[in-house]
């Protein structure tokens, strides 16, 4: 979708924005001081988590026009015309994505709060690079803080996911 409109004005404190969420076109009414994370959660996309709210922890990461971005720092109006993928668009309980399966199988999930953001980062890596080195995996997950696991299992999970996703 192209950004066609050059002016977005709040009416009674609300912006009307149109964007694609997980492949579907959606019209949202967002408050002028609302962030994409809060708007998404208000509309039921609760996968993205509110951790620090300052761009540090990565638990709010979504794919924004194809790249991981921190939805807690994106004013909701900025998403007008954008394509957003949340964890709900990656896979579901009934039909999980191989990365989600790998995180479960590797035992990489404890409290789970950081996992949606981690999987968003991992997906961006694996979609471009089917066999990343451990160093590369660690660099890609660098902005996703986890307070439970110590990261070892999550790096293993991404390696396992890479294997599952390779055609051979």
């Amino acid at each position: 979708m192209k950004k066609e409109i050059t002016e977005i004005k709040a009416v009674d404190g609300y912006f009307e924005i149109c964007l694609k969420i997980n492949g579907l076109t959606k019209n949202l009414k967002v408050k002028n001081n609302e962030f994409l994370l809060d708007a998404l959660r208000r509309y039921g996309y609760k996968g993205a988590k509110k951790g620090c709210d300052t761009g540090d922890c990565g638990s709010c990461a979504v794919l924004f026009n194809g790249r991981p971005a921190l939805s807690c720092l994106i004013p909701a109006f900025s998403a007008h015309g954008a394509e957003v993928t949340t964890i709900e668009g990656v896979g579901t309980v009934q039909a999980p994505h191989p990365i989600q399966e790998a995180f479960v199988q590797a035992g990489a999930v404890q409290c789970g709060y950081c996992i949606p953001g981690m999987i968003i980062s991992a997906k961006h890596l694996l979609d471009a690079n089917p066999a990343p080195s451990e160093g590369k995996i660690r660099k890609y997950l660098d902005g996703n803080l986890c307070r439970c696991t110590g990261y070892v299992k999550q790096v293993e999970a991404v390696k396992l996911a890479a294997k599952k996703m390779r055609p051979d």
Binding site: T6, P68, I74, P75, S121
Partner: protein
């Protein structure tokens, strides 16, 4: 956050729209500084002018003698450009030190400069690479050395409504390093950072620039230190001399991130390491 967002698609459109909106306005690029400030209750505005759609700001161009980086290029986008990897080794080395991958997808090079924080990593690297900044106001352009743009913490010589459009870095055959000391190995604002760019003639330093972040009110060019190592052999003795001198050039403060004495000491350590790293590479290349 303001109630009016303007999104011009071209510079021409931008200059046409500006006079029609409230004077209490600010440019919005990646938003990583502006939005966090607004969130904390600073910088209240009537309107934000979202410049992320301006095509003129989005690319890297190579000329015979220089590399031009559009102000709207995101930090994560830099590496995709061959000209950046080939001609800007210090900036390339700084990228992994800049926040996190997702933040790098949002933050722009222009915002890093306009925000004028003494700890700005891309700015510090670009200063060492001798970048000039190109500014435009209603079609009128001017340029100055990037390091001359800064007047103090969060203070620049940018005029009201003036837009940073690009950075121009001369092509000079240099190598270098970007070393940053933060709260963790990666991710986080620096306690101190050193950007080193040197041009070698055999094992002699033909030309050098040294820039430092987080150890002065502005991103600092260590002119004396660069002068002192110019013409000398790239050796452990030179590295030690540079380390001793650079500590006299910086003026760090004690704040939430670190204290002044430690920062000053680390400027020496980081610069020595950067020079020794270049020496090692030179030896390895034989």
């Amino acid at each position: 956050m303001p109630e009016l967002i303007i999104r011009p698609r071209t510079l021409k459109e931008l200059w046409k729209i500006l006079p029609t909106i409230s004077a209490k306005r600010k440019y919005l690029a990646g938003g990583t500084d502006l939005v966090t400030a607004a969130n904390a209750g600073f910088d209240a505005c009537d309107a934000w002018v979202d410049i992320s759609g301006l095509k003129e700001l989005q690319s890297v161009k190579e000329t015979k003698t220089s590399v031009l980086i559009g102000a709207g290029v995101r930090i994560a986008g830099l590496e995709a450009w061959g000209a950046v990897r080939r001609w800007l080794p210090v900036l390339t080395a700084a990228i992994p030190h800049f926040a996190s991958p997702s933040l790098r997808n949002m933050a722009t090079v222009g915002g890093n400069a306009a925000n004028a924080s003494p700890c700005a990593d891309a700015v510090c690297a670009l200063c060492a690479e001798r970048a000039e900044v190109i500014l435009e106001l209603k079609g009128k352009k001017r340029r100055l050395p990037l390091s001359a743009l800064f007047k103090g913490p969060k203070q620049t010589g940018i005029k009201k409504d003036e837009l940073i459009t690009a950075f121009e870095v001369p092509k000079w055959p240099h190598t270098g390093a970007y070393l940053k000391l933060g709260p963790r190995a990666y991710f986080g604002i620096s306690k101190a950072a050193v950007a080193l760019a040197i041009e070698l003639d055999g094992d002699k330093i033909k030309s050098a620039s040294v820039a430092l972040a987080s150890v002065a009110p502005v991103p600092l060019m260590a002119v004396k230190t660069a002068g002192c190592i110019t013409g000398r052999i790239l050796s452990p003795e030179t590295a030690r001399a540079a380390a001793a001198l650079v500590k006299t050039e910086v003026s760090p403060i004690t704040d939430a991130r670190s204290d002044a004495d430690y920062r000053r000491e680390m400027c020496g350590v980081l610069l020595e390491r950067a020079l020794l790293g270049c020496e090692e590479r030179l030896k390895a290349e034989g």
